[in-house]
Amino acid sequence: MRTLFSSLILLVACLSCEVNAFPIMVKKGYPFCTSCHVSPTGGGVLTPYGRGSSEEMLSTWSYENEGSESHGALEYLTGQRDDTGELNFGANIRSARVQTDKGRRYINMQKEFEMSLALDDRLTLVGTVGEYARGPESVKEYRRRYVLYESNENVSIRVGKFIPAYGLNVDDHTLGVRSALGYGEGSESNNLEGTLRFSSSEIVVTSGVSKNSQFSENHDGRYQLQTEEKFVALRTSYSFVSKSLIGLSFQVKQDDRIPNAPVKTQFGFFGVSGILSTPFYLMADNNWKALNDSGPIQWQPYLYDLVGAEFVQGVHLQLYYERKNLLDEYGAKLQWFPRPHWDLSTTYEYSKLGYAAIFMVHYYL
């Protein structure tokens, strides 16, 4: 029944006329990530256009050039704004206050600095250094480091450490479904990635090794060790009408250190769409993971379906449903981008295991 509900949501998404993995941005006409981010699969350091977009489209208020690295100070002093994007740097500082029925916690989720340097029109280097929460501790890591080669606007190759392309790369760090599928925050792996991109479609193929240094955190503080697996992932997306995006994801992986280890398969479909010219938007990323450690294959659903609305620019009310590890969760989130560089959110999640209330403050440079 819930699968049917999820499928219906996606169907509605497909039928409506207007949609962004950052669904807010797909809805504003930017179905692919590289307009605003250096990374072909989104997230991380912003391009000059991405900074301009944070002023004009994302935030409730802004002043001229506020989205720049210097908050506009350098532009005010020099009278000009760098639009070459040759050297970009950014930072993320994210903290959360989590209240559950088991208690209250304060988590310093991340403090990271990222830089990209374009050596020429085709070759870009990206590196990140940061300190991240891992369970009750914090660790220093170089989470992302890669070389991006863009042969032209249609073809790019990336080698290094980053999160592979799979499903929707949403900005929500509390999203459990992506972690359960192996694509949560901190799940960067060593990869080789090829992207084929056209004006309204994109295919990304990634092959790599996800090592066992990845953790997945739950609301109550537990975390789990992943295994070392070789994988191939495919994500294809298609912007079928303006402001709408649909796509398919597929992944196979195997831990070849273990004799006769099963090949693990997972697949899914996703979509983001605005609803005509209303403030509403829909997002769905529904996946099925084969459980075949023993006995016949069982397909376990990992679902994420969301309906959101932006009545005032920068203020988003979202209701969502998640299903992971056979557990249903329902959530409501209020997210506010008051000014460029600031992202505040309050989330309430409920499942049969209890509830979690999360207040998050995110500063992005």
């Binding site: 504003k28 006409g29 930017y30 179905p31 692919f32 990530c33 590289t34 307009s35 391009t47 000059p48 256009y49 900074r51 301009g52 002023e55 004009e56 489209m57 704004r81 639009d83 070459t84 994007g85 374009a118 029109d121 085709r122 870009t124 863009e150 032209n152 606007e153 790019s156 991109r197 004006s199 994109e202 303006s242």
Partner: protein
């Protein structure tokens, strides 16, 4: 005799059913919508392109039939163009210098009765350039479509934080007429 009367009746009905070809199409602010589509394109690097859809700015004017051809002048108030992003709208008005040139004019010069293809001139910022496209009439509805080359007009290089636009812009007009 009865057969003759029946044939005459059928002929009468056929002529009565045949609709007269409109001699004139009048475009007013209330009977049409104009949409144009441009593509944002990276000027630096290889970032992905994106669609820009412009709406607003109704078509006003007349296209009338004479000697088997439709012709006429259609004006669009470009100050009404909206693209859903305030700053982009502001830049658009600056590029079009809409305070000095609030109207764009399409002169239909050659549109044969029964044909979809038209030829004409499009004037933007005081400069006229030939354009061609289609005018499809169906019942009381008209769909016009043509393409505009930005480089044909004194608009200058469109640029914002590493992005510009592709040279070709597609324009579509949907109109509904009540005769």
């Amino acid at each position: 005799m009865h057969r003759l009367i029946a044939m005459a009746f059928i002929c009468f009905l056929s002529f009565a059913a045949a609709k007269e070809v409109p001699k004139k199409y009048t475009f007013t602010a209330g009977n049409n919508t104009l949409v144009w589509k441009a593509k944002g394109k990276a000027l630096v690097g290889n970032a992905s392109s994106f669609d820009i859809t412009g709406r607003g700015g109704f078509v006003e004017g007349e296209v009338s039939l004479s000697k088997g051809f439709y012709s006429g002048a259609l004006n669009v108030d470009v100050t009404g163009f909206k693209t859903e992003i305030e700053k982009r709208d502001k830049h658009l008005q600056e590029y079009l210098d809409s305070k000095q040139f609030p109207l764009a004019t399409l002169m239909i010069k050659k549109l044969a009765l029964g044909s979809d293809a038209f030829e004409g001139d499009l004037k933007i910022k005081g400069v006229s350039k030939p354009v061609s496209g289609t005018f499809s009439f169906k019942d009381d509805n008209l769909k016009a479509a043509f393409k505009v080359k930005v480089s044909d007009y004194p608009i200058g290089k469109v640029s914002y934080l590493g992005f510009g636009i592709e040279d070709e812009i597609a324009v579509e007009v949907d109109a509904h007429f009540i005769f």
